[in-house]
Assembly symmetry: C2
Homo-oligomer: 194 residues x 2
């Protein structure tokens, strides 16, 4: 238990792609390739002015536009009030191990934060789904930068995703008022710059 | 509004990698490369016998072993009772647009499910963090296959992630008892095969 373990990564033959039909490199140690399924459209064009989480982006509308080839995969999404969006932090400037989160001026391990500058710059947001029109999701609570490549959409399922009585580490040191002020980063509903 | 929109994907020059310091292809239309940060160790070795969500894997222990180069990024994670794990569904056999979910015998759009056979085979689970020892997270509620390449760790923050009064579409047609029976897929605490 005391010794430091090093993860042994799965070794896969070069036949991987044909065997599983997924778009990936032959060996995950070299990386896994994901192709965007669409793009995010939002009013946020400057990273520094973008709310850091949907909860701080109340009233902020946006869209997820999915490639037509995947439109059929969006069937039944309209029954869900909220969805998880996975997307690429396409403006992230490299990765750091320690980062001062937006909500607090203390260095934290980047995996204990939701900051973009992570080893794999994948963003996760839970946004409200207003409606679906074909291959477009109309969203509220959008904290994503305009143009962010969309990687996946998953329904938010209360039964799986609503954890009661969770403990939130350093986040609990940040009072709600400070969190709201710093989390919004200047964004106010109806006070858009355009 | 009626016409079908096709997402315009961000075009990026070949200098992208050096500009942002992230490991990605020059152009996201060709795909984004993510390198696993570690690996999942669990008792689940057969996809067909693996619980489909942490809520159906109560009592099931496992570990996330992170590459030593990223160990420092795990600082402060121990303050959180739950974490989101993003991982690669490395055994997924290709992607489908429509899929019969494990909980229901009706074809659903794959983005309205959490099924592995998605265009980008990225898994998302909220698991309980028991403790951290160095670069290893000890977890409970593990629904991941042994050997799954880990892509990211994010804290579960009640303030961001606990949505009250969400509506869960077709999932609400599945009663709790059926969900538990079908979601566990034979897994019972203490009835491990080893």
């Amino acid at each position: 238990m005391k010794r430091k373990e090093e993860p042994r990564m799965p070794r896969m033959g070069t036949s991987r792609e044909s065997r599983y039909g997924v778009r990936s490199l032959a060996d995950t140690r070299g990386g896994v390739v994901f192709r965007p399924i669409g793009v995010i459209r939002s009013e946020h064009t400057a990273a520094k002015k973008t709310p850091i989480q949907p909860v701080f982006a109340a009233g902020c509308r946006g869209r997820a536009i999915v490639r037509r080839e995947f439109a059929a995969a969006m069937k039944d999404l309209e029954g869900f009030s909220h969805v998880h969006l996975l997307y690429f932090f396409h403006k992230a400037k490299g990765s750091k191990l320690l980062v001062k989160p937006f909500l607090q001026d203390v260095d934290r391990g980047v995996f204990a934060t939701r900051a973009p500058c992570r080893p794999n710059a994948i963003g996760l947001s839970v946004v409200r789904l207003i409606r679906r029109t074909g291959n477009v999701l109309h969203l509220e609570g959008v904290d994503m930068l305009d143009g962010a490549p969309l990687l996946d959409i998953k329904p938010y399922v209360g039964r799986f995703d609503r954890i009661e009585g969770s403990r939130s580490g350093w986040q609990e040191d940040v009072d709600d008022r400070t969190a709201r002020r710093r989390g919004r980063r200047g964004y106010r509903k109806g006070r858009k710059s355009r």
